[in-house]
Each structure stands twice: as structure tokens, then as C-alpha cells.
Symmetry: C2
Subunit: 391 residues, 2 copies
DNA sequence: TAAGTTTGTCCACAGGTTGCACAAAGGTAG
DNA sequence: CTACCTTTGTGCAACCTGTGGACAAACTTA
């Protein structure tokens, strides 16, 4: 059934509009909200007084006068509730308590040696319990839990496949709901990263942005027309399995010449072994390679450049397809940005369609290693605020 | 300034909802509209009476009783106005008069030998004038003109580049506005095709659909979340310039290994020449190749199969990236569907990610050669109906 | 023929926004 | 210091639209 419009809906929409305006411009006066939204002053006053009752907005002292009566400034009360937001990675779990602004209040990170679901789940639950215990007292308490996973996740929150964790058909959402009596959100890590970067990484959030999460594999989160795009079933963004080399290296996905067989952490390590760049007594890890690159190891630098060029190929394809405003590179290969920038930029500049390069920014994730965590926080907050309308 | 909600907006939204319901379910009674929309019976009555006054809806005789008073059936009056919708191709112009249902009332097609803008524009204006002259008398007359072009079109309707027409920076919209005092819409041909197929090619329009227009080059129109996605500047969909062969054939776009260098009308003809499939006294055209294929020319069939496999590669990439519900192939290569289906389906089935193949339909355009025309009609109609709200 | 059902209209009512008047609070110029 | 202007925020009447129920019309069914 389509949504019908009546006075109640109007009020909720306007109330949400006022709250969003306050969040984005805090501190702001009632008069300024009225001007910015186009709503009548009286309407704003009445909606604001409800928002104050609901603890989402607080009044601070008077602001500076602009030639008349001094305004009462309104503040968004980001401490009215908290989220527990988790980045469940391969070999680690990073969990954070955030406020309603997505600001991290407390963060915990634990290495998990084995990726068996039972062990991971136990660690996850323990971390979440810790954070909930430490949450400050607030009007709404912990409003929800969000977990970003490197997996194909259905719209219903089921983990269909997590190749790097070796998981298949896991009801993570259900399992968490059995433990915690809170709303649970499960999302793909790249989708969450994209959303986090869009919401919290820019002064003016881009409307069309592709976030390429390049770690062991490659996934993408896509912000299109200001919204996260997830595809028909929630599986979009598998840019790692885009063929860029016809009849190329075969991939476990069943295809050949896949992007992520030429540009990923996995590939870097494979080449490091093949080319004997890492000795037997050294750790086979990205960090080892980074150290060598810092020490100007020519062969490692050469490898980085080669991978950079392949990333350039993949991103050029994406740019030509989407005409995005921003392309961000996140996840593990973000740590290689110093070396990757020149080959990537060079490739894109020389190969992408000229029109698409106007107004295009190619950059690395800005939220350090918190893209996924903050994205999950954003989802949880948004869901919470949206659900208020149904009351 | 954000849009504010008030009683007027509520009314316009509900009125639009009622009209859409009538359009989609015509004929339908007031009571059924109320049930389907969730609106109150009284509200529906009053909105319908306005729609009747505005000539968008007419009453027909009583319908069948379902055990009580017989309902008065409401019909959408598709003849309340007409659009002139044009497919401006390479070498031809196809223009049609459509009603508000997108049904073609009259269609004119003219071959244009040279693609100089002056000649094309003269022909275009002449065709449009003819159609306007023949438009039936109606309440709103001709409500707008839409032109789909094989070009990079800005959001503002400027043709930035039409490689196959050899046009650059042409103000087509402005030029038409100088001649006709009607709203003018200019869109990329693939975007229009996608929209036309989505709106008029299905009983239940798909929400996520990729329309690959494979002609001389390859472009795509993307319907994402039920809306046409055009990218930051309106240039999205250049899937023809996605690299599928690293270090492959160079393309005039400056890149190498582009999709459209392996799978397009252009490539078919180039290979036909190179392999001596077409004799000197024969016409170098797709139609010649089709005739030979119909006659079971093994070499031609082999060529079609090769191209089909490349199309499979490109579409597999698209499917992995978007997780669409429907992928359609339109434009010239639609005529080769008989021969292209097996290799394309085989490639996609064996290579695309399994999850993405669930609920996926790969097919050819269903609106024959009217995808673009009907898409432009849909844009024009939608714009007309939307603008009614501003009155 | 009577009872029940469905359709569509009418009308009082509720709730929301608007526009304006007005009070409160501060600035500014002489 | 005073008089006047500007800005902010509240209060209130007017207006608009959807809702819900009553009701009449029209038809089916037993």
C-alpha cells in the first residue's frame, strides 16, 4: 500500500526537517531554523519545544545579536543515546560506543586468532556487553547495535557468504537478537564504510560516491543520489569480480581476470612470495612490505606501482560507468596511499573519459580505520530517528 | 532550501497518488482507489472530481457489481494531451506522436544522409512540425517535445559530445526552444531507452535494471531503486569504455581494451571486412551480415558467437557490480538476439557470481525500436504531470 | 419482498500550518 | 541616557485538508 499523506505525516516530516537542520547547523536559533527550512516561525517554535521535551535538543545561552534581540541558541543533544557499532574484520573485531553524532566515545579492539563462528561470536558478544556496561546514563540509552562484516549480506541480515572468514549461511542478526534486546543491523563492510565516509567524512556530503574497500578482496559501497545503493537483493558492489583481463588469472568466484586478482592485499602477498621480497624469517604481512617500502626497497616499490596501475584500471572503469563525484579507497590498502597515489592518478588522468574527470575527486578514506564503525553508527542512528515517527 | 510540508503539498501528493492509481489500474472505481491507496472514501471522491474537471479522468458506465451497488468506473484519459518524442540516431530520425499512456499515435521515420547539424536540425524541425500539425484536438494539446540522442548530454540539455554524429557542444535544447514554444527535454539515448523499457515494457516495472544499448558504440541506461541514475553531471553509463582486456585494442576515447572495441556494430563490421565476410559488391552493413547468418554462413555465425562472448564478459561485470533484477540489450544488436542469446547466457551462467543470478533476467529490449521514443515520452509526460503540482 | 452489501456523497470535527500582532530584549545614534 | 529601530520568539485566529461516520442510492440474494 502506498503511503498516504495527511496532517500527521506533515508534522513528522517537518519535525524531522527541523531536527536535521539543528543537527547540521548546531548551534542555531529558532529564527534561523525557520529561515533555513522555510517554515513559519510559530511552527518551528512548537516543533522545537517538542524536540526539547524529547531530549533531542537543548537550549544554550543567548547567542550574538545581529542588531536586535539576542537569539536563544539550540543545540543537538548528541548524548541523548548511544550506539554500539562494530567492525567485524578478518582476524580482529573493533567495537565502539558512539553518540548520536557518530562520535566515538569508547573503542575496543581485539585480535581473534581463529575465525570459527563460535569463537568470533563469543568475543563479539563480550565486547558488546562491555561497551553497553560503560555507556553513560542517557535518556534513550543504547539505541541499537550495528555490525559491519566482510560478507555478502541479504536484506534480511543473513550472512550468506563470507569467503575470508569461511562462513556460510549464518544467522548473525538472529543470534545477536537472542542475546541482546536491542535493534540489530548487519551490513556489508564496504557499504557501511561508504555510508560512514559520506555522512561524516565531508563538510558537504557528496551525492554520488564510490567507496572501494581494498583489503584481502575488493568490494565497493555505492552512494548514488545521496542514498546507499544495495541492488535487488542487497549484493551489489562486487567490483572485485569485474573482469579486467580477458582470459586472465582464474578466481575462486569461478570467473577469470577478476580485478581483485590483480589488486588486493592477497595479490601483494602472493607476489611478495613469488618474487622473494619477504625472507623466511620475516612476517608475511602487509606491514612487512610497508616497512620495506619505507626503507626504499626498489622491488617492493615496483610491486606497489604495478598494483597501483591495476587499481587505476579498475577505478577508471568505475568512473566511466558511474560518473561519481568522489571515489574513495579504504580498508587495508589505504595504508599504502603514499605509494599508490601517483600510479592511480596517472592512470585515471590519462584514461578516464575527460568529462567524467571534471568535478571528480579521487582520494583515500578520511575516517582512518573507523569508516565501517561510523557507517554502522550512522545506520543505527538513522533507523532510530526514523522509527520515532511511527510512535 | 529544503522542501517544507504543508496542507497544499499533502493535497498534491494525494492527488498524484490517486491519478497514478487510476492510470495503473484503469478502469477502477472510487471505492477501489480508496482501498488501494488507503485514503478515505470522501477524500478520493473530492480529488477525483478535480481530476475529472481537469480532463485527466473520465467516468465510464457502471462496472460489474460485487454484491452491492454497481461502481462507476474511472478511466485515465490518455488523450488529454500528446507528446512529440524523437529518437535522433545516426543516419535516421524517428519521431512519434504519443498519448499520455506512451502509446504511439503516429510515427515518422526519415533517413538523413549526412550528419551535419544544420541538415539534421532542419529535418528534425520539419518532422516535429508535421506531428504537431497532426495532433488530435485535446484539452492540453502537445505538452512537450523530447529528443533522445546518442551523445553525452549535460543535466542542462546541452550536447557536449556526440562522437558518431561528429557533434560537439551543441545547444540543441536552446535551438528547439527558439522554434517551438513548448517544454523541451534532451536525454541520452540509452537513458531514454532504459526508462522507456522500465515504464512500458513490464507488467511489474523492475526497480533495478540495466539497459545496455549496443549499437555503433555501447552505452547503458541505469534504473536504480526505480529511478534513472545519471551521475554527478549526467554522464553516467559509459560502460562501453570499461576496460575488459588489459593492454587491449586502443579506443578513440584514449583508453585501451574498452568493451565496445570487442562488442559493437562497429566491431562486427570491422571484423567482417578483415575476414572478407562481405564481398566488395555487397553492402557493408549489419543487415548484410544478418542475411548471411540466416543462410547459415558458418564464418558469420562464428563471428556472432565471438562477439556474444565478449558481450557476456561486459554484462557479467555489470551484473557483479549492480546486482540488478533485469539486464536488457537494446539498439542495433537487438536484431542479432537469435544468435547472441546462447553465448551470452552461457557466459553469464558460468561466470557471474551465483547469488546475483538468483532473480536475474537477461533479455532483449521489448519495445522493438521504440525504446528511446517511449522513454522520451515517459520523461515528457512525467514532467508535465509533476509540473501540474506547482500551479 | 425483505434483508444485506457495496458505492459514493455529505458534513462536523480534528489537527496542522500560516500570517500577523505583539511582547521581550537588545542595538544605535544623538 | 533616551528614543527609535531591529531581531527573536510566542500567541491566536483563520484556513485548509483528511478522517470517520451517517446516509442515500443501487444492486444482489434468499
Amino acid at each position: 500500500m502506498s503511503r498516504t499523506w495527511n496532517q500527521y505525516v506533515v508534522k513528522q516530516e517537518n519535525k524531522a526537517l527541523v531536527l536535521t537542520t539543528i543537527i547540521n547547523h548546531t548551534p542555531i536559533s529558532r529564527a534561523a531554523v525557520a529561515q533555513s527550512t522555510g517554515l513559519n516561525k510559530g511552527t518551528v517554535s512548537s516543533l522545537v519545544s517538542e524536540l526539547i521535551d524529547e531530549a533531542f535538543v537543548t537550549e544554550s545561552g543567548p547567542g550574538a545579536s545581529s542588531g536586535g534581540r539576542r537569539p536563544v541558541m539550540l543545540l543537538f543533544n548528541a548524548k541523548a543515546g548511544f550506539t554500539v557499532s562494530v567492525d567485524l574484520g578478518v582476524g580482529y573485531i573493533q567495537a565502539a560506543l558512539t553518540d548520536l553524532n557518530g562520535e566515538i566515545v569508547q573503542v575496543e579492539k581485539k585480535q581473534v586468532k581463529e575465525s570459527t563462528f563460535d569463537l568470533v561470536f563469543e568475543t563479539l558478544v563480550h565486547l558488546i556487553e562491555q561497551l553497553i556496561k560503560h555507556a553513560p546514563v542517557s535518556r534513550y540509552g543504547v539505541i541499537g547495535i550495528g555490525v559491519g562484516v566482510p560478507a555478502v549480506v541479504s536484506h534480511e541480515g543473513e550472512i550468506l557468504l563470507a569467503p575470508n572468514l569461511n562462513w556460510k549461511n549464518i544467522q548473525l542478526k538472529q543470534a545477536l537478537e537472542d542475546v541482546f534486546d536491542l535493534p540489530i543491523l548487519i551490513e556489508n563492510e564496504a557499504n557501511a564504510g561508504a555510508y560512514g565516509e559520506m555522512r561524516f567524512g565531508f563538510k558537504q556530503p557528496p551525492k554520488d560516491m564510490i567507496y572501494a574497500s581494498i583489503g584481502i578482496g575488493i568490494g565497493a559501497g555505492m552512494i548514488l543520489d545521496g542514498k546507499l545503493y544495495t541492488g535487488k537483493s542487497g549484493f551489489s558492489g562486487e567490483i572485485g569480480h569485474m573482469t579486467i583481463v580477458k582470459d586472465g588469472t582464474s578466481c575462486r568466484c569461478g570467473n577469470v581476470g577478476c580485478f581483485e586478482r590483480y589488486a588486493s592485499e592477497q595479490v601483494l602477498l602472493e607476489h611478495a612470495v613469488k618474487r622473494h621480497l619477504i625472507k623466511a624469517n620475516e612476517d608475511l604481512s602487509l606491514d612487512t612490505l610497508i616497512k620495506k617500502a619505507e626503507a626504499h626497497d626498489q622491488e617492493v616499490l615496483q610491486l606497489f606501482e604495478e598494483v597501483g596501475e591495476y587499481i587505476g584500471i579498475g577505478l577508471t572503469n568505475i568512473i566511466n560507468i558511474f560518473n561519481p563525484e568522489v571515489v574513495l579507497i579504504g580498508n587495508r590498502l589505504r595504508d599504502l596511499q603514499k605509494w599508490l597515489i601517483p600510479p592511480i592518478e596517472h592512470y585515471i588522468h590519462s584514461r578516464a573519459i575527460g568529462f567524467h574527470q571534471q568535478d571528480l575527486t579521487v582520494d583515500f578514506a578520511k575516517l582512518e580505520n573507523f569508516s565501517t564503525v561510523k557507517g554502522m553508527a550512522a545506520f543505527t542512528i538513522e533507523r532510530f530517528l526514523a522509527q520515532l515517527k511511527d510512535i
